[in-house]
Amino acid sequence: MSSNINNKITGIGQILRKDWQLYLLLAPMVIWFIVFLYTPMAGLQIAFKDFSLFKGIYGSTWVGFEHFQTLFNDELFIRSIGNTFLISLYSLVFAFPMPIILALMFNELHHAMFKKTAQTIAYLPHFISVVIVAGMVVSFLSPTTGIVNLVLDYFGFEKTYFLTNPDYFRPIFIGSTMWKEAGFESIVYLAAIAGVNPSLYESARVDGASRWQQIWRITLPSILPTIIIMLIIRIGNLVEVGFEYIILLYQPATFETSDVISTFIYRVGLQGSQYDIATAAGLFNAVIAFILVYSANRISRKLSSSSLW
């Protein structure tokens, strides 16, 4: 038994010695993961403790699932779960297909100059900081000087303070996120489209496929594995919804539709100093994310034989 273990250790030693340069390159990333992602996980225990700053993480007393019970009895938390779910669902339905459609449209452009210009214009918003985008949205939608309201006013409609109306929050949030990211995200799909064998299109043309049929029957099925991988990643991030962007856009008047789990954690934990409850909410968030990404991967592997792992 012990000789077996010794053999294994010698084996690992030999592998490390043989490819030490590769392991050296890998080391910084491993260290980063350990220091910044795995070590802080020890702090997750405060989700099950009555955390006191004076007693510290390890000194605080265990309380079991008490914080979770508190959370699930809190209407605001339940509301934030619902909001997270709805914003994610809408963005999955509206924002996820957008880069694919955009990539297909770029691919149909044949005038080189026009194509490049269109692509550049579509990519640019990605490089604008989210703070500036939020600032732009706020000023465009301003009830007094915002261009949207000025146009509405010009055509005789009533001015609206969009950002204080809970009904408008989700469309504004998802619409502006799409404007910012759809172009840049389309690059992945454009790369996938570029990888499709051109003779498939020629063959389809001879077989009688119209432009539309070529997109539907060749391009889309050919980039389906890429779409699925992107979808899995997206589903894994479902509960993450653009935290900073929501913080920048929301206000108490729209909490009803805009307060999501991550903003709830921020307010309760950092502003309200209830670290233990916030950690419990964060842990819940992480567990849901893990279940989502794991299930999406399983389903995708079964249905389409493409998967992340």
């Binding site: 003779s199 020629e202 063959s203 389809a204 043309r205 001879v206 077989d207 049929q213 029957r217 050919s222």
Partner: protein
């Protein structure tokens, strides 16, 4: 292949003064070609000679810069590929990777909204002709190269097109499979009798498959003829050295006329007599190239009356079993002789020491050196 029966309506194809230009570069330079209904025509030539471009213009995948292409009675210059009633088989098969073999074969029919039962019947028919029955549910990635090429042909035949177009369909296959598939294509044509235009750079494929061969160079047609016609009567030195394996030996020389007799003096002073033919005309001192096919050069004399002895030295002997290839130097120029005179003996020393080869004057070719055209 089994004996399923397919009858198809076919068309002739006609190219008149067809040009293809990319900017100022001319790829195809005004070719004229008439392809009869049921005919199997092979376009052959070195890389970049414009043969694939010509085929793609017939398919409608390339625009025609000038001239007209007609299929049947119809000029198709402005007609999109799908309405030309042609089917094309590509070098890399161009199978749709996400569809099964059956779906690949049915693709063109489904696009045309053919009723399901007719699609199924057509797929069954094609798969039985091409022995694809066991593979119908598989994806292309699970097939061998030869099977993939058969699927590509199946996709072409179910549409019952008027013209088949093949773009180097066997280039991605290994040598053995290529021979097999060559025979299958020939059998398929014999059975379906569909007008076929086939592009290849392999002259063996051209010789074995074609009713007529079209030899192209630099966007122009050098010669059109039956395989034996272009082999026996090459129109110029390009065709002579392109068709035949190994290619024809071409030796520089000058015409010498005396006493009404014509002969050619090679660079080393060797004399090759030119047997009389009606209508032959040479001028004394004319610079020519003498052509002997490797099989018309031998180390032994076969026919005393029709032989031109030439001095040579042997560089290399390549035994091929029943034959041997002798790489020679004749009058300072490289030449190859194909001989059976070693009598299948493993001892090559006899022919390796040869100092004289004999050209068969019955199969002598003479080309003008300046114009490269055949003059005898």
């Amino acid at each position: 292949m089994n004996s399923a029966n397919v009858t198809l309506s076919v068309s002739n194809v006609s190219l008149k003064k067809v040009y293809k230009r990319y900017g100022s570069t001319e790829i195809v330079k005004g070719i004229d070609l008439e392809i009869g209904a049921h005919e199997f025509v092979v376009l052959v030539g070195p890389s970049g000679c414009g043969k694939s471009t010509t085929l793609r213009m017939i398919a409608g995948l390339e625009e025609i810069s000038d001239g007209t292409v007609s299929i049947g009675e119809r000029v198709v210059n402005k007609i999109p590929p799908k309405d030309r009633d042609v089917a094309m088989v590509f070098q890399n098969y161009a199978l749709y990777p996400h569809l099964s073999v059956a779906e690949n074969i049915a693709f063109g029919l489904k696009l045309r909204k053919t009723p399901k039962d007719r699609v199924k019947a057509a797929v069954d028919e094609a798969s039985s002709i091409l022995s694809l029955d066991p593979y119908l549910e598989r994806k292309p990635s699970d097939l061998s190269g030869g099977q993939r090429q058969r699927v590509a042909m199946g996709r072409a035949i179910v549409r019952h097109p008027k013209v088949f177009l093949f773009d180097e369909p066997l280039s991605n296959l290994d040598a053995k499979l290529r021979t097999q598939m060559r025979a299958e294509i020939k059998r398929l044509h014999k059975r379906l009798q569909v007008t076929t235009v086939y592009v290849t750079h392999d002259q063996v494929e051209a010789m074995t498959l074609a009713d007529r061969i079209v030899i192209m160079r630099d966007g122009k047609i050098e010669q059109i003829g039956t395989p034996m016609d272009v082999f026996l009567h090459p129109a110029n030195t390009f065709v002579a050295s392109f068709i035949g394996s190994p290619p024809m030996n071409l030796l520089d020389g000058k015409i010498r006329k005396s006493d009404g007799k014509v002969a050619i003096e090679l660079n080393d002073g060797c004399i090759v007599p030119v047997p009389h033919k009606d209508g032959m005309s040479f001028t004394d001192g004319q610079e020519v190239r003498v052509g002997f096919r490797p099989e018309d050069l031998d180390v032994v004399v076969n026919d005393q009356n029709h032989t031109a002895p030439m001095n040579c030295s042997v560089d290399l002997v390549e035994p091929l079993g029943s034959e041997a290839l002798l790489h020679l130097q004749i009058a300072g120029q490289s030449a190859v002789a194909k001989t059976t005179s070693h009598g299948r003996s493993s001892d090559m020393s006899g022919i390796a020491n040869t100092t004289q080869v004999f050209g068969n004057l019955k199969h002598l070719h003479i080309f003008d050196r300046a114009s490269e055209q055949s003059i005898y």
